[in-house]
């Protein structure tokens, strides 16, 4: 083989990818561990959901996904991201040496932590990260009450 890949061991075994641990547990024990609190298979895409004073922000990792192939919808307090990562367009006469990156369709939903102002949602794609800004609905924003 002309280009060989070396894998690194984890820098510290206690920091090793806990999601991999979940997946391995699932591979070994299958449905026995259904009650396990974290997602039992590796959910894709991975999400972060952060709440700030006036908005919440969802960050999802989606390298190689084009924004034309992505759909975001909100229904009944759930936000759904669905899309497709298109396979690599192989030039004529080329061949695979290694293929670890998976492609295909995905969909994932997340429950929103609060009511949102649906008219002012915005989203952007940068460096393979999807960032969705969800402003809070006026009714639930923190405010000070003036005393008359």
């Amino acid at each position: 083989m002309l280009v060989r890949v070396r894998n690194y061991p984890a820098a510290n075994p206690w920091l090793h990818d806990e999601m991999d641990f979940d997946r391995n547990i699932h591979n070994v024990f299958g449905d026995l561990f259904d009650a396990y609190p974290v997602s039992r298979t590796r959910a894709y895409p991975r999400f972060d959901l952060a709440e700030y004073q006036n908005e919440s922000v969802i960050i999802a990792e989606m390298p190689g996904v084009r924004k034309e192939d992505l759909k975001i919808s909100i229904d009944n307090g759930y936000l759904t991201i669905s899309g497709e990562r298109k396979p690599y367009d192989m030039p004529h006469g080329s061949k695979w040496i290694r293929n670890e990156i998976s492609t295909g369709k995905f969909t994932r939903s997340i429950e929103l932590p609060h009511d949102i102002d649906a008219d002012n949602i915005s989203a952007e794609m940068k460096n393979g990260l999807l960032r969705i800004m969800l402003p809070k609905a006026e009714t639930i924003k923190p405010r000070e009450i003036s005393i008359k």
């Binding site: 280009v3 709440e51 996904v65």
Partner: protein, 131 residues
């Protein structure tokens, strides 16, 4: 090595992409390698890094790529869900003799680093002209 040693924070070294906190971890990013007639294309999935922070180095037979994602959240965030942890992506490739070390290109787009490795002239397939 005792259990106590293992629990210690990783030692800090002089490097731009060294893990900066206990919660950061190292990721071995998935790669695709495709061979064409006159070059190899290597794709590395590394979402969330800035182009400027990608460290791509060739050292005789080894091509090494490293990058640090940084933290995506501001200080006052209340995290309801956290699946993406600040990470250092790190992967090494061993290069064969037929790869031209002076013509290695990297391009980062949409979370994917594409490295192009040109083959030396001598190994490229060619037609031989019959006199």
């Amino acid at each position: 090595m005792t259990r106590k040693d293992l629990m210690k924070r990783p030692e800090k070294k002089e490097s731009v992409v060294q893990p900066r906190s206990y919660y950061e971890r190292r990721i071995v990013p998935p790669v695709d390698i495709i061979e064409s007639d006159n070059h190899y294309t290597v794709q590395v999935d590394m979402p969330g890094v800035n182009k400027e922070s990608i460290d791509l180095k060739v050292d005789s037979d080894t091509l090494r790529v490293r990058a640090y994602t940084g933290d995506y959240h501001k200080g006052d965030a209340k995290l309801h869900r956290r699946e993406i942890i600040p990470s250092v992506y790190e992967r090494e490739f061993q290069l064969g003799k037929e790869i031209d070390r002076s013509k290695i290109n990297g391009e980062y787009d949409n979370g994917v680093l594409t490295i192009t490795l040109q083959k030396n002239e001598s190994v490229k397939p060619r037609e031989i002209h019959i006199k």
